[in-house]
Symmetry: C2
Subunit: 113 residues, 2 copies
DNA sequence: CTAGGGTTACAAAAAAGTGCGTAATTTACT
DNA sequence: AGTAAATTACGCACTTTTTTGTAACCCTAG
């Protein structure tokens, strides 16, 4: 992520949501408060490092709230913020659009015989 | 883009829309039919390689229609498909959300003094 | 020594940029 | 008239940049 001085809101929001993890994390956080390790379990293929990086990015973007509970072992909880929750239906709408346009699309899943 | 066998529509749609160019290209194509070179002019920083790759991806995803007019110099036109046009308001909604949540966000644009 | 939630340095992989080549016709120059 | 150059939309190979993964280390109470 370089400049983020794009003047175009769509470009900016896509900079946050682009990639494999952001929408997935939002999806899982939609289920409720989650701890770091729960998110790891929800998504076994994300590396430890990516998970921290992406959560930080979402936090900076005001989508995710990070709460640290001091004490040992350390506990950190993640939730969607108000803004993050408002984003959920928009992302869902994209998923719905994708499913609805299934037929109009060259099948990208199989044709690699 | 590796497998795209994700079973999750959101993951799949994000695989198409992720990155800097897809939404931008959709935005410019929304203005009407464009030729390759026009899109290049609309967006001076995209390399011709990326432009071809991204347009092909959008074509495969059923978002963009590519029409070749034989003859020399070769002419190729790009438009949004019906499905592509339906996607536009969803992307706009993301932009609106981004602007609306401007205040709830750690300022990512300046703080690098 | 473990758990939890990291950070950091280094390495591998993926994505993006660069520049040359191509086609057939038109325009430009001499 | 003859040759050179430009045009359009790429493809291909190569290099650079960016992103992601790996592994090691940190901290502290129990």
């Amino acid at each position: 992520m370089k400049d983020l001085v794009s003047r175009c809101p769509i470009e900016e929001v896509m900079q946050v949501l682009s990639g494999r993890w952001p929408t997935l994390l939002i999806y899982y956080l939609q289920e409720g408060t989650k701890r770091f390790s729960e998110l790891q379990r929800d998504n076994p293929t994300v590396s430890h490092r990516m998970l921290t990086l992406e959560l930080r990015k979402l936090e900076q973007a005001g989508i995710v709230q990070r709460t640290v509970f001091e004490g040992y072992p350390l506990r950190v909880e993640y939730d969607l913020t108000q803004a993050g929750m408002k984003l959920v239906p928009l992302i869902d709408a994209l998923g719905d659009w994708w499913m609805a346009t299934d037929d109009t699309r060259a099948d990208m899943t199989e044709e690699k015989v």
